[in-house]
């Protein structure tokens, strides 16, 4: 069932030990939507400038992504540039040019208003909340945030996530949000802030899912080579929420199996791992659903005991 994704569509310049790209399609909304499109009909809400290339629109449209909510305005598309350390565990931002993204206010097309699933990519919390309010029939809603909002806009962020079913962040963000170093205690504090489900991403070490009465932990997929980790967390998000949308996961009406959440974490991990295999969104040009399901089964094999 249909999913709406809100976030940034951008151009990235990236350098990893494997090479360099001066300008390639990026942005959280792009990665989430491409990843989710393998599971469910996906519609996006984002803004780009007049420099946005036809081939990039074509890539998204080719995956069946609904672009009614992709607004083009005068100016340049959001641009980000970064360089990774030799072991790729660190990256340094070289440039962040918000450009047209600086004035982004999500306006949802009428056709999106009654869709059941919403993923709010990492943008200003007040804008996430305003987008959510435009969708009165939601069955499952949640999103991402980052240290910038946790440190600088915490009351606004708390008001926003209060209305979410799930929050998907990394371990350092979870510790910062909860002001608690122990991850198990941090999770309980975050669950008390509103979301009934918390997913904590741990990069190469996998992910954890917490609910009041449930814990799931999965290790990361072991790649032969990490080519470019950019977007891996967003692809995790797309796989997680995309799979649940595909399954018709219905938390609001109590028609759900908690094991579906565990499998959604695995699909998230699978999508994050594929993302790292090539630069930027390149892997999605060839990736098939069959490869995705095969890697899901591989996860079963290397975690069974």
């Amino acid at each position: 069932m249909s999913l709406v994704v809100i976030g940034s569509v951008a151009y990235d310049a990236i350098e990893t030990p494997h090479g360099k790209r001066d300008r390639m399609l990026g942005g959280s909304c792009t990665y989430i939507a491409l990843s989710a499109s393998y599971f469910t009909k996906t519609s996006i809400v984002a803004v780009v400038g007049e420099d946005f290339a036809l081939e990039d629109t074509t890539l998204l449209a080719g995956k069946g992504v609904d672009l009614q909510g992709l607004e083009t305005v005068p100016g340049k598309t959001f641009f980000w540039s970064g360089v990774y350390s030799a072991d790729m565990n660190d990256r340094k931002t070289l440039a962040t040019d918000l450009n047209v993204f600086a004035d982004f206010e999500p306006k949802l097309p009428a056709a999106y208003a009654h869709l059941p699933y919403l993923f709010l990519g990492n943008i200003q919390p007040a804008l996430q909340l305003s987008a959510q309010r435009q969708m009165p029939g939601l069955r499952f809603v949640g999103g991402d945030t980052m240290n910038y909002w946790i440190n600088g806009n915490k009351p606004e962020l708390l008001e926003t996530i209060k209305h979410w079913d799930f929050l998907l962040i990394n371990d350092s963000e979870a510790r910062m949000l909860a002001e608690e170093n122990n991850i198990r205690k941090a999770a309980q504090k975050i669950l008390a802030m509103g979301p009934n489900t918390l997913i904590i991403k741990r990069g190469e070490y996998g992910a954890m899912l917490f609910r009041k009465d449930n814990l799931f932990i999965c290790p990361g997929y072991l790649l032969d080579d990490v080519f470019d980790p950019t977007g891996a967390g967003d692809c995790f998000a797309g796989g997680f929420v995309g799979y649940l949308a595909e399954r018709g996961f219905d938390l609001r009406n109590g028609r759900f199996d908690v094991a579906e959440l565990h499998r959604a974490v695995i699909y998230g991990s699978v999508m994050g791992s594929f993302c790292c295999e090539e630069f930027g969104v390149e892997r999605f040009r060839t990736l098939t659903r069959k490869e995705i399901d095969q890697r899901f089964e591989e996860f079963r094999r290397f975690t069974a005991f």
Copy 2:
């Protein structure tokens, strides 16, 4: 079936954010043997000084550990002192007084010579090899090492592990030994050095087991509180090899199920997690096999999908 453990028996002074102990029982052989004793008859080979306390001998004997190979010689017992960082991910060594351990040469009692299982704790590789040569009827043998031997005695270390079934080290040691940063590639290089099974410990992030045709990855157990991580890796080793000895795992004669190796990794993780719950070996004063099996089942629950 009986297991022999060789390594250090020591006194430790430790400071963690939870408190401080000036002198408590420690050493790799101690932790490995205490942990393994929950699964199988365990015999140790180690050396202590005349200051070794009766209560510490009593603790080991009380767990059924065979102390025929525990030699007491004139002088003081090996002493180590360290302090952990606030998040306990780092520790600084304050003192390492080898004392009687400086002249340790493992001499196996005649009664040990035909026992089937051997774990070689982290001591000089040549001594590990000499100990192994005193046991001609081994069914499963392996051990641990550390950066000190990898950097300083590599040819000797390679000659030693060539004769092992399994090597159990942490991720940074694996990268160093293989001279390869990618862990999957490092594992393949190490498997070519002799051991048919490689277990890589990743601390709070769990562990991985590699064989030529097999991969198993398990996440770490999520503790409410890490009180003192000292000895956790050794307790992992004790749980891993102790469980396989209990099951009669027989690699040399081909009577084994590879799934037992996966379960052994889980039992290793379980034992490592219990170790962190109190200072030093304290947790083993009260720990029961029932608690161990319960935590094993808990691992099943939080990893199932």
